[in-house]
Amino acid sequence: MRHLVLSLVFSCFALVAFAQHDHSGHDHSDHAGHNHADHAGHDHAAHADGGHDDHHGHGGHGEKACGHYTHHEFNAGDNAIHHISDANVYSIGPFNIPLPVILYVPNEGGFKMFSSTQFDHASGHHGTGVRAHERFVIDGGQVKHVTDSSFPNENVAISGIVHIKKDGKEEAFVCYNEKLYPTEVKSTADAGIFGGGITGYYDFSLTKNVVSMFIVCLILFLLFTSAAKAYKTREGKAPTGLQNLLEVMVTFIRDEVAVPFLGHNASKFLPFLLTLFFFILGLNLWGQVPFFGGSNVTGNIGVTAVLAIITFFAVNFNGNKHYWEHLFAAPGTPWFVKIILVPVEIMGMFIKPITLMLRLFANITAGHMVILIFVSFVFIFGNSGESVPGAAGGAVAATLLSLFMMSIELIVAFVQAFVFTILTASYLGQATEEAHH
C-alpha cells in the first residue's frame, strides 16, 4: 500500500513536470506562428501573391498573415492527435533525439537526406519547425514541401506556418519574408480515399515509429535467441526465468490458437502466428511505456495495413481447392442464391483483412488518445497555466485516471495481439481446411 501511494505521488510530480515542459512548448511555437486561421472563402492566389493585408485571424487574433498572434486556446483533441502521430524526433523524457529525414524528390534530383535538427523544431515547438531546409518545412510533426520555386533552396528562418481552411480542407502556408507560400504534403498510397495521393515528393524518413519498430524487433530477437539457446544448454532440465515467460505464451498460441483452428497444418503456420503475436504485443507494450517516446506504432494505420496485407496474402496463397470452390461455386446452392452469395463472399475476402487493420488501429489509437485527454486535464482545469490550484487538481485527477486507463490498456495490448492472431488463424483454417462432405 505504501509503495502504491509513493508511486502515485511520484507520477503526479512527473506529470506536472511533463505539463510544464509541454506548456512552454505552447508558448514558443503556437504564438510565434503556428496558427489556425479559419478562412472559408478566401482566394489562395491572393495570399500567394503577397495579398496578406486582408488576411485577418479568426476572432480578431491576428492583424496580418505573418503578424503576431495572441494566445490561442488549448485544444485537448488537437493536442492528443499531435502526440499520437508520428514524429521526426525521438523524445525520451525531456531529451529529444533528432532523426534523419530521408526524402525522394523526383523533380529536384532524387534523394535528400538531412537531420531533422535543420528544422529546429525539436524542443518546445510542438512539432512545428522555425526553419525551412531546401524548401522543406515541418508542420505539426509532418514534413511538408514548399511548391513555389521562388522560395530559397537553402536553410532559412521562416516566420511561421499558417493554416487556412478552404472547402473544408485545411492547407498549410509557409510565412517567409511577409509572403505566403503554399505547401504540399507527402505522397500517400490511399488512392485519394483519405484525401491523399501522389504529390511531388516521397517521405522515407526514419521516424519515431520506425525507430520504435527497430527497437522492438531487436528486443524480440535478443529475447528469443537467448531463450532458444537456453533450451540447448539446459536440455532435460526445467526451464528458468525468461524461458518460462516465453514458453507460457508460445505454448498458449500453439495450443489455444494454432491447433484448434489449423489442425494438422498447425506446425506449418505456427511461426507466422507467433511472429504476428509477438510483434504486435511487443509494439503494443512498447507504446505503453511513458516518457520513452510514447510511440503509437500499432495505432498507425499504415503499420496495421501492412500486417493485414501479409495476412491477406498468407490466406489466399495457401487457400486450397475447397476454399476457392466455396468462394466462387459453393456446392449445393441453387444458382439464384449464388448470384447474391458470390459477390458477398468476394467482398468478405477483402473485408476480413480490412477489419483486422481497423480493429488494431482503432483500439490502440483510442487507448492512447484517452490517456492523452486525461493528461490534458492539467491544462483544462489549470486554465492553460493561469490557475495553479486547478492545474494541481487536474494533475491528481489525470494521474489517477491515466493510471486506471493504462492498466486497461495493458489488458488491451494482450487482447488485441491475441485477437489479431486468432482471427488470422481462423482465416487460415478456413482456407486450408480439407473437405468433409
Binding site: 489455444e256 481497423l358 486468432i422
Partner: protein, 70 residues
C-alpha cells in the same frame, strides 16, 4: 451538419455493437457457470465473436469518418 449526422450514425452503430458484445459476454458467463471445466474454450470463442462484432462497428466508424470528411 454532415459531421453531426455522421456522429449520430456512429453512435447508433456503437449501440448495436455494445448490445451484441454485452450479450456475448452475458451468455459466456452463463455458460461458464454451467460448465466451469469448459472455461478455456468459451473464453477464446467469446473473444473471437466479440472481435467479429467489433469489426462491424469499426466499419461504421470509418464510414462516418469518411462522411464527416475528417
Amino acid at each position: 451538419m454532415v459531421g453531426s449526422i455522421a456522429a449520430i450514425g456512429m453512435g447508433l452503430a456503437v449501440i448495436g455493437a455494445a448490445i451484441g458484445i454485452g450479450w456475448i459476454g452475458a451468455k459466456a458467463m452463463e455458460s461458464i457457470a454451467r460448465q466451469p471445466e469448459a472455461v478455456g474454450d468459451i473464453r477464446s470463442n467469446m473473444i473471437l465473436m466479440a472481435a467479429f462484432i467489433e469489426g462491424a462497428a469499426l466499419i461504421a466508424l470509418i464510414l462516418s469518418f469518411l462522411v464527416a470528411g475528417v
